[in-house]
Amino acid sequence: MDGAGPPTLAVWKFASCDGCQLTLLDCEDELLALADRVRISHFLEMSSAEAGSTESGGVQGRAALEGVGPYDLSLVEGSVTTAEDARRIRHIRGISRRLVTIGACATAGGVQALRNFADVAEFRAAVYARPEFIATLDTSTPISAHVPVDFELRGCPIDRHQLLEVITAFLAGRTPGIPSHSVCFECKIRGTTCVTVAHGTPCLGPVTHAGCGALCPAHRRGCYGCFGPVADPNLEAMVRQLARDGMSARDVVRIFRTFNAAAPEYGPVPDVAARLAPDEPR
């Protein structure tokens, strides 16, 4: 953006499923046009152009970051789950003019943040015969817990139209036009019948951030919250409604603890559920 050439874009991966960066490759109609406007400088899933250097000596875990960048826009997928990754994100922040997180992992810790509510030593032992070989933190944390973030794009996975909007906006130096209302608004816009009102289906739409286009209600299921919380979710009213729709306190905690389990807005859920939902499902 500052220099003479086209702006540079980098895509980085932390603990994740690769789905949010795949969203960029899923922009089939726009991918080549985008590549004409920006230089996709670092994107390991797509390109070996900057896969790292060949050098002699020692064994290393990650590609050497020394000497790469700087980048005009860095997109970061995934959460921080190792001490090495905590160091790596600080370096990436240093070489990025703008840093945008893409997806529930980078924005709220992801599904792997379910470890935050458990004993990681037990998790490790459940999966690995020799848990001592596995270096991992006890928590999965969002990128914003480690470095300042310029924008957080939500979703598990992100929506590709929103991704294009974010990239375009940052390249143009404006704020992305990403609505912050709840999924309920999207249902209304789409003209979808409310699954809770019509069928008593438990639905997290009222407390969930818009972005998916109200996909689940359009498929006759309740929203499962993959875009994470709206600002100031009314958890009391939500839990009361979920209880009315047949969910026990345990079910309520579980439905909130999925892909955005560690979002701080959901922190009070267990207490609210214990007060307002029955012990057993009806």
Partner: protein
């Protein structure tokens, strides 16, 4: 750079694979003494946190293991839990499931062919660079990929982590009218895919041969995707015929072990190295390819699949994938043509205390799930064996053999850059989904 008898080499991340891992080679006196695929991907503990969840939850949760093949995870989880609960799903629901799965095959395989693998053959860093010289081919690839995504969007709601899949079937099923426009698109994609087969057939394929066993689902009469039992094609020269075993004996045959340098577990098939994925499927099931795909395979120089010809060259996996895309498109069209909506979008799957397992063919190979359920359906145990974990040992062997062969051919020093490029290509041939198996590829070579 090329030292005398011993040296250590280290390379940056391997690109154009899903996830992150490293390769470490040890060389001594011109021989490869070790080739390790080191998967650094931080573990995400899916098997652990599935425990305590309800029996309806694994399809949504396990989809998040992989953004590239979420449907494979959803379909395998559904089938395993349905098996535990004693429910079999058939008829139009099963057809729709298979159509969704073909959508993923089309999307994922054409992604690998055009965006990840083809640049290797044409000396490009990526598809953007490739598009400068081969714009039509890249655009064609993107169109095929888009057709696969369209199937997943229509049936699943979205291509990544579809929302419409549930135990017993779907939340909402489509009408014939909704499917019809898809057919036009798939027919165009089929023509594109045939062109891709011809394009890829013209690539220059280095000599290489995988000499271990092939493992794929086998369902005589069809090119198995989500049905059948595991079957093993022995290594070349082996006196044994094809052998098979029921899926519920999978863990007795495919045994996972942990190696200290990798967060992904490694599997062995009856103690040996095996390969699963396109080459294995083609070897075991080639005779049941759709005639259009079989003809394309013959024309592309893969031999006659009906005569049981086997392709063991990992470089040619791109060609087999291209043939599989044609097959998937034809089968998808066939399903759409015969589709009559089911009376209900799903069958009921009441929970019971039991255990069940299932295997399906993810684009990258055989994927196995097993769940044990408590009386109310709470998951008490989960085991997931993804294709890349199974292929790791075979990839290591392939790396060892290829580097060894390269060193043997040369009387002069082989440089680090060349070895690095060779290893990267060798790994990409196998299309490893490292996110699934635990993710980053750096290469370290140590010459002792």
């Amino acid at each position: 750079m090329n030292g005398p008898a011993s040296r250590t080499l280290q390379l940056g991340a391997l690109a154009r694979v899903e996830g992150e891992a490293a390769v470490r080679l040890r060389l001594k006196d011109g021989r490869v003494t070790a080739a390790e695929l080191r998967i650094y991907e931080p573990p995400r503990f899916f098997e652990a946190f599935l425990v305590g969840r309800g029996h309806t939850e694994p399809p949504d949760l396990t989809a998040r293991i992989c953004g590239i093949c979420p449907v494979a995870y959803q379909m395998t989880a559904c089938q395993a839990i349905e098996a535990a609960c004693g429910v079999a799903v058939d008829g139009p629901i099963a057809q729709l499931r298979r159509l969704l799965y073909y959508g993923e095959w089309i999307e994922s395989q054409s992604l690998h062919i055009h965006l990840l693998h083809a640049p290797d053959f044409l000396g490009c860093a990526d598809a953007v660079e490739l598009a400068r010289g081969h714009r039509r081919a890249v655009e064609r690839g993107l169109r095929i990929k888009q057709a696969g995504n369209a199937v997943m969007e229509l049936l699943g709601g979205r291509p990544i982590h579809p929302v419409n899949v549930r135990i017993g079937g779907f939340y909402r099923t489509v009408s014939r009218d909704e499917l019809a426009p898809l057919a036009d698109r798939l027919r165009r994609a089929r023509d594109d895919a045939l062109e891709t087969v011809s394009w890829v057939a013209g690539f220059d394929f280095p000599e290489a041969s995988f000499d271990g066993e092939f493992l794929a689902l086998h369902d005589p009469g069809r090119y198995a995707v989500d049905s059948g039992a595991p079957a093993v094609l022995p290594a070349p020269g082996g006196a044994h015929p094809v052998r098979g075993f029921p899926v519920d004996e999978f863990e007795q045959h495919v045994v996972e072990e942990q190696v200290p340098y990798s967060t992904a577990l490694q599997s062995r098939l009856d103690g040996g190295r095996h390969l699963t994925g396109s080459l294995a499927r083609y070897a075991l099931n080639g005779r049941w390819l759709h005639p259009t795909a079989a003809e394309a395979a013959r024309a592309a120089g893969l031999g006659d699949p009906a005569a049981g010809e086997v392709c063991r060259n990992p470089y040619r996996s791109i060609l087999v994938r291209a043939v599989e895309v044609v097959h998937a498109l034809e089968e998808a069209l066939h399903i759409i043509e015969g589709y009559r909506p089911p009376p209900r979008p799903h069958v009921d799957v009441p929970a019971r205390e039991s255990a069940g397992c299932a295997a399906t063919e993810a684009p990258r190979g055989l994927l196995y799930h097993r769940y044990a359920l408590g009386p109310d359906g709470t998951v008490t145990h989960a085991r997931i064996v993804p294709p890349t974990a199974q292929n790791q040992a075979a990839i290591e062997e392939d790396l060892r053999r290829q580097v060894q062969a390269r060193l043997a051919r040369s009387h002069t020093a082989v440089g680090d850059e060349e070895l690095a490029a060779l290893c990267e290509r060798a790994v990409r041939n196998h299309d490893p989904c490292i996110s699934c198996s635990a993710h980053f590829l750096d290469l370290a070579v140590e010459r002792e």
